[in-house]
Symmetry: C2
Subunit: 360 residues, 2 copies
């Protein structure tokens, strides 16, 4: 389905595999790109060297365009150490109660240094850079443009889409309220940035029409099959971005327990959670979310994220999905476990079928 957007990016299908930090190994990214979609490496939690290493691995597996996704953050964070100590105590007690032999520790740093991640991204020079949690600076835009890197900004409201268009993004990815994982909302409270795609897409289409250049819109949130891709196109999207749909691919590195829980997720159980990372994110309301200690809930991102990371790794190793951050969109139970290339082909088959079966 060729369009100005797919031609510009030199991809076959209007499909983007979302940059889900922690769950997008090079094999997944390359498989999606080789199948004609745009694979993306979620690099939010990666050290600069790991970004370079994984980019090289992707390049070894595919010569197709791919994306790297980053979280826009300050370079340093100040933690309230008293609050951290209290949260650690409560988190350790929770893990002990749950029989998981793991304790929190003070991390060497709260998060990888963003400006170093950005430099690594520039050096890796993917076809596309995707950003969440804010807008890049004019200097950063210049650095990306000098390297001919296509820039996609993430927006959860029309104001945020405008901020990215004003900031020079080539395209804007609209994160609907349905979407799994961290909310990108940066101009509003997270609760106010929960706009469903049926509203957000047409609103953003109108807002982008005021610009003298074309700003393609990408639809993200709740899209699990080819009918969703077509519906998004009808509402004005140049492409669809799917995250949860790729979680059950064998190439995806999400924990097995998480993959196995997805088909059983009820829509009303998918909620907005701050308790894993300190930042609003959509996922399954499981045991950990229900038992989340009060002191931990007060810590901001990425402080809490760093504290809970080893606990979640231990939970994954122990097959305890109920203690993991099981991020997922609202339509999670529509996952179809299959290799990424097959999923891409199936999505496009369903897309064409839905188009053909429309009565004229």
């Amino acid at each position: 389905m060729s369009s100005p957007f797919t031609r510009r990016l030199d991809i076959e299908h209007p499909l983007i595999q979302a940059p889900m930090s922690g769950s997008t190994p090079p094999s997944l990214v390359a498989a999606v790109s080789n199948a004609g979609g745009l694979g993306s490496l979620g690099a939010g939690y990666l050290e600069p060297q790991a970004i370079l290493d994984q980019a090289a691995q992707i390049r070894a597996l595919s010569d197709r365009p791919y994306a790297i996704g980053l979280f826009i953050l300050p370079d340093a964070f100040e933690a309230d150490l008293e609050a951290v100590a209290k949260a650690r105590e409560q988190l350790d007690a929770l893990m002990a109660r749950e029989g998981l032999g793991v304790r929190t520790s003070m991390p060497a740093q709260w998060a990888p240094r963003y400006s170093d991640q950005f430099a690594a991204l520039c050096e890796a020079r993917p076809a596309v850079a995707m950003f969440a949690f804010g807008v890049i600076t004019p200097a950063q835009l210049r650095e990306l443009k000098q390297r001919d890197i296509y820039v996609i900004g993430t927006a959860t409201t029309v104001d945020e889409a405008r901020a990215w268009a004003d900031g020079g993004a080539d395209a804007v990815s609209l994160q609907g309220a349905e979407a799994g994982g961290h909310r990108s909302t940066f101009l509003h409270d997270a609760e106010d940035g929960m706009i469903g795609l049926f509203a957000l897409l047409p609103l953003a289409v109108r807002a982008m029409a005021a610009y003298s250049r074309d700003v393609p819109l990408i639809a993200a949130g709740g899209i699990m099959d080819g009918r969703g891709v077509l519906a998004a196109e009808i509402l004005g999207a140049a492409a669809s971005q799917l995250g949860t749909a790729f979680l059950t691919c064998p190439e995806c590195s999400a924990a097995e327990a998480w993959k196995q829980d997805l088909p059983r997720v009820e829509d009303y159980q998918v909620t907005t959670i701050r308790g894993f990372s300190g930042r609003a994110a959509r996922g399954l309301r499981n045991r950990f979310v229900e038992a989340m200690p009060s002191a931990a809930q007060g810590l901001p991102y990425p402080i809490l994220n760093a504290l809970t990371a080893p606990l979640r790794r231990a939970a994954a190793a122990a097959g305890r999905g109920d203690l993991l951050s099981e991020w997922c969109g609202q339509a999670a139970s529509l996952v179809r476990p299959q290799p990424a290339a097959e999923l891409v082909a199936r999505l496009m088959y369903e897309y064409r079928l839905a188009k053909r079966t429309l009565e004229p």
Copy 2:
């Protein structure tokens, strides 16, 4: 666009004007039905005699099918009179501060008696009955079926859609998180029933496929133009239900101040509000919502609804939109003020155009 659903209801277009209680005078309902859609009388706040009177007025203006919508409620309510007194005091103080010369009073009843409303609906015998806030009883279903009334139940989650299908509904209206007005959620907390249409529609399509009979699904929430109607159809909807889009019709009895605020609504300002009625409803975060007294916020529906009703009437009369319950969906600013018949024709023109302009 003829389909089994439109043929069964004998309507021309797969369009339902939502039963917005308090804003759907007979002239609006009749105009939509005469234009080939399904007009509906939102009768949630109407006394039984008013339901009969307005049904007669609709019948005098149109011989086309139309719907009556009711809220499923107990027949009687017990109010905590101490809490009511405290809320009244605070609400009166707020109105005084805002310069509105109106005070709360103790209403003769908290709400019209539901079973009498139901009896009036049966007597009025519209082509369609729509219900929110719960599921009808088997006895009520029999009464409706004896009169050949088509039953549409409102669901905000897949479980609620199943509850209605199990309860004998002919069709289920899916109220997406984008939708304006009162949330119908009855099996879950209101926050857990905020599922975007991009997720809810495909999930409900799969759930309904398990039934041996056909249960058409209706899409509601954020749909403001014909592209939205087509997108909903592609995701599996037999029809689209639009409320906010009809608010700015001249036939609609919504307050002028409310109508005038809608085009300026930003997506992030449309929030979930309990403070007007005691039940979660989507609308504009205006002055009243920001200043909502704490004691009022604790009162349940319909107690608080009855207390604030005269205040909202006074605000409407004074042109004070900021003190009104300005219900609206998340895409409110896409309203196009025009007569209802023109809006219906325009929606279907856009729908056909969107279909034709899809590349094959």
